[in-house]
């Protein structure tokens, strides 16, 4: 499954980049995120409750960041397991570009799912993932812009 999109965030690039590395911002933005802890500068551990069609499960997983291209681009890879519900693994490349006072965020993600999640939710996964991604960036963008207004 592949996802890609481009969104505009009303904040300068360095702020967007910082927010993307802030566990608190991410935790609030990721739909269903129950826990998000930074293990090191490039490693995160997360617990996320998800529902895809008839499958509902809490996924525990690890995310590794590659920040070599920061702040213009970075990539991440991760994998998570929801027990009998199945598992997911994948990665994303994120690119940030200045556009005046705003930032254009472009991402391309690739994910594979397995287990019951793939079997039962198969035909729902792409649309669910699209929806979750949209929701994430909506939340994220709201937080980053809000942060600007109040700071």
């Amino acid at each position: 499954m592949e996802l890609h999109d481009e969104i505009r965030i009303e904040a300068p690039k360095h702020e967007v980049y910082a927010a993307l590395n802030d566990p608190e911002v991410l935790k609030a933005a990721i739909p269903g995120c129950q826990e998000l802890n930074k293990v090191s500068d490039t490693e995160l551990e997360a617990k996320v409750a998800l529902k895809v069609g008839p499958v509902k499960a809490t996924f525990g997983g690890k995310v590794t960041l590659d920040t070599a291209g920061a702040p213009d681009r970075f990539s991440l890879t991760g994998e998570g397991s929801g027990g009998v519900a199945g598992f997911a693994k994948g990665g994303a490349d994120v690119e940030l570009r200045e556009d005046g006072n705003a930032t254009i965020l472009r991402y391309a993600a690739k994910a594979d799912v397995g287990g019951k999640l793939a079997m039962l939710g198969g035909r729902l996964i792409a649309s669910t993932a699209q929806k979750l991604a949209a929701q994430f960036f909506e939340n994220f963008s709201a937080q980053v812009s809000a942060g600007r207004e109040f700071s």
Binding site: V84, G114, G115, L117, A118, M119
Partner: protein, 806 residues
């Protein structure tokens, strides 16, 4: 003393014997919801089992932590391979000479594989506990493509077979190779192909699908620790074989095991195999001392218990310029999944696929089948067909079409030109079978006439013109099939399963008042045995079918037999029934002669009685004879009237048929409409025309599903993409076509009543008929082969690739 004798026709009709469209006696309970299936069995204190299954298609198991599950109130036990290992039950033998993990031993090899067995007080607790078992997997590379399985660097799937270069069916050439099976004459065939006028070559794929019986697999195991007796109720198509195998595996003496197959809600081959659920339930009952029930759900049934087909059949067929077939060559790559659990007679690792010369007189042929392991569920059962016969029929019926295209010939004419002629039977095929009987030309001509074949071709040609002129977007396809089956396994001399000879049996007990009970070694899963076997007997012994109880499935009471699959019940157990009936009649003749005070040879059989030759007014009815058998002292004759017959057939039977499908295809949407489906079956002597018609409707509907949409599909990670009925196509009344049935009768010369078996013919014959119709619709645009299932998307894609979308 004797009542007035009704006329012969009336007496024959009263028996409801052979040829009578007698209503199914089973339906009174089935249509009222009063059947008694495994899941209806409730025993005091019964526990429930449920499986933890692997989400991965290939992974190493690093650890299994069941502590949280065990702590859940109501959970009795969680079994893993480590618990079964001391009993040597963590692996089990398969029907194909391989072994299979009962519970994952160190690694998993397909998605849905059994990893742990939770036993709890009820089903809900068991399901909750399954989610609490924590399994730590390390993912391994997955092989789903059978052609990549034998690459030099392909992952090793079966580590337990390391270093074993010899399998159950000969040498293994690669770590993922199971067997090579060769038949026929390779050199002669290749020589013919090399010098032939025309050679057509094609890869024909019969995709992976699943029998999907409405009732899934399950059992209730009950170990009585007081008397040491194990009783297992289960969805078993072969209860006696299950008893013997259970005894051999467990060490429990065979007389202490009782296997009962209650009502079974469809089998279609899915319920032939031995599954981990049975072993785990039995172990759990032995450990806990109380009954344990396990019934799989729909997803478990589709992803873990036996699939069918998955044959990649590469074919070459040669002919003279005028369409006389000269040779057939075939190589099959058979995807068997993670364990070789095919249900085939021991000496036939590819079943009877060597019937693939079909209905044609092909002088020389060669066949090789290579079985390989992949990360898919094990199985390879005969889904409503005799062992691999439907694959064979699909292969040859596609190859005939492909050859017809190469020759530029009408495929109906090509078939007729090459049929085995009536005077050639018994016919020895190039791949080793002796066809017992057939009259293909008569059936074929009848079928073509019935559908007005010439008229259909004219209409098709007109439609094609209209299509090209832009007047319509619908094409017509005419799908032809003439199939020959090989059923009724089988002669003990070459057919056994795990060493158990494939005879079958019938035991008859006549009651003093002239009614009877017959018990058989087979088991009905919906075929209507209680109806039809009573009819065979009625005609043999002159007792009305309505007065005969037929009982099957309880190994403590029924005589030993190998069960019901591969259309073997009528050819084998049906023959045993007739033979046992004849033994009854032989004794009845002696009793009648004594009662009539004449010599044995001076009485003759007359429908329902013995009468004195030349004096038909002097007779004894079977009712009178039965009473005398029990209540009158007859010198030299034991009291009672019972008989048993174990029948080892001298040959298989070879039912055949001609099926024609007329289909309309919308090239823009890929949708189809079955305009006409004509099915002519020759199953020899017809026992009950109504049941035959029902069988043909059922089998053709399954064939329709298989050809037009049903499949077990995997993605490249080994995920089953079609594990629910949302994605796995089961036709409803809405999609099911209308069928016209017809028949010819060519009795089997070696079967006591000439019957051949029909339950599976419609599946075997209809799949190529539907598929050929799709191909035929696009023949004018250059299509030679496209793989099933022909769902809307694939048909649309075919039209698209042929440039029909402008």
């Amino acid at each position: 003393m004797n009542e007035m004798t009704p006329p012969k026709t009336e007496r024959t009709a009263a028996l409801k014997g052979l040829g009578s469209a007698r209503k199914r006696v089973e339906d009174a309970r089935f249509t009222q919801g009063k059947g008694n299936y495994v899941d209806d069995i409730k025993l005091p204190g019964m526990l429930f089992g449920d499986f933890v299954r692997s989400p991965y298609a290939h992974a190493r198991i690093k650890s299994i932590d069941a502590e949280k599950a065990k702590a859940l109130p109501g959970v009795i036990a969680v079994l893993t391979a480590a618990d079964l290992a001391p009993l040597k039950l963590h692996w089990m033998p398969t029907l194909a000479g391989d072994v299979q993990m009962v519970l994952a031993d160190g690694k998993v090899l397909f998605q849905g594989q059994e990893v742990a067995f939770v036993v709890a007080e009820n089903r809900y607790i068991a399901a909750d506990a399954v989610e609490l078992v924590e399994v730590d997997y390390e993912e391994l590379p997955v092989v789903v493509d059978p052609f990549k399985a034998e690459a030099p660097d392909a992952p090793v799937l079966r580590e337990d077979l390391a270093g074993k270069s010899e399998g159950a069916h000969g040498p293994r050439r690669h770590h993922n190779h199971i067997f090579t099976w060769e038949q026929g004459d390779r050199d002669a065939t290749e020589k013919v192909l090399a010098s032939a006028d025309v050679v057509a070559e094609e890869m024909v794929y019969y995709h992976r699908t699943h029998p999907c019986p409405l009732e899934t697999c399950g059992c209730v195991a009950s170990m009585d620790k007081v008397n040491g007796k194990l009783t297992v109720w289960g969805t078993f198509q072969a209860p006696h074989a299950v008893r013997t195998v259970a005894s051999l595996i467990s060490g429990i003496a065979e007389h202490n095991i009782r296997i009962i197959s209650p009502d079974i809600g469809g089998g279609f081959g899915n319920k032939v195999g031995v599954y981990p659920g049975y072993i785990c339930s039995i172990v759990a009952s032995i450990v806990t001392g109380v009954p344990v029930k396990w019934v799989e759900d729909r997803m478990e049934n589709l992803m873990a218990t036996a699939f069918a087909r998955d044959y990649w059949m590469k074919g070459k067929i040669s002919a003279t310029k005028d369409g006389r077939i000269t040779g057939l060559w075939c190589h099959v790559t058979a995807d068997h999944g993670a364990f070789d659990a095919c249900a085939d007679p021991t000496k036939f690792p590819a079943g009877f696929f060597n019937i693939c010369t079909g209905s044609y007189d092909i002088p020389v042929a060669y066949l090789a089948v290579d079985g390989v392991y992949t990360n898919k569920a094990p199985g390879g059962v005969a889904y409503r067909c005799s062992f691999r016969v439907t694959e064979a029929a699909y292969f040859i019926e596609r190859m005939i079409e492909v050859l017809a295209i190469r020759l530029g010939m009408d495929s109906a004419e090509l078939r007729a030109k090459n049929f085995i002629r009536k005077d050639q039977f018994p016919y020895h095929s190039a791949l080793g079978w002796e066809y017992d009987s057939g009259d293909y030309h008569t059936a074929w001509d009848k079928a073509l006439k019935a559908v007005d074949y010439e008229g259909l071709r004219r209409e098709q040609a007109q439609r094609l013109e209209d299509f090209k002129a832009g007047k319509t977007r619908k094409l017509i396809g005419i799908g032809l099939t003439h199939f020959t089956e090989i059923v009724g396994a089988g002669p003990v001399k070459n057919c056994d399963i795990l060493g158990l000879g494939m005879f079958d049996s019938c035991e008859i007990r006549i009651h003093p008042t002239g009614s009877a009970i017959a018990r058989l070694g087979t088991i009905s899963q919906g075929q209507g045995h209680a109806t039809t076997f009573a009819q065979i007997l009625a005609s043999e012994i002159g007792i009305p079918a309505d007065d005969i109880t037929v009982e099957e499935g309880d190994t403590d009471t029924a005589p030993y037999g190998l069960g019901t699959y591969g259309s073997r019940s009528t050819p084998v157990a049906g023959a045993a029934t007739a033979m046992a009936g004849r033994k009854i009649r032989a004794k009845a003749q002696m009793i009648a002669a004594y009662l009539l005070e004449v010599h044995d040879d001076d009485v003759e059989w007359d429908i329902d009685r013995f009468a004195v030759k030349g004096a038909p007014e002097r007779f004894k009815t079977m009712k009178e004879i039965a009473f005398a058998a029990y209540n009158q002292a007859i010198p030299g004759i034991e009291p009672g009237l019972e008989a048993v017959s174990y029948y080892d057939p001298p040959n298989m039977t070879y039912p055949f048929g001609a099926y024609i499908c007329v289909m309309e295809i919308d090239v823009d949407t890929g949708e189809h409409e079955i305009r006409q489906f004509y099915a002519l079956d020759d199953c020899g002597t017809r026992i009950n025309p109504m049941i035959i018609e029902g069988q043909v409707h059922g089998g053709a509907t399954e064939g329709y599903a298989i050809a037009m949409g049903q499949e077990i599909a995997y993605d490249e990670m080994g995920n089953v993409k079609t594990a629910t009925l949302m994605d796995f196509f089961l036709p409803t009344a809405w999609e099911t076509p209308h069928y016209t049935t017809d028949f010819t009768v060519t009795p089997s010369p070696h079967h006591p009543i000439g019957a051949k078996g029909v339950g599976e013919s419609p599946n075997v014959g209809s799949v190529p008929a539907f598929s050929n119709a799709v191909h035929d619709a696009f023949r004018a645009f250059g299509l030679t082969q496209t793989h099933m299932p022909h769902d809307h998307w694939r048909i649309w894609r075919t039209a698209h690739e042929l440039g029909l979308h402008g």
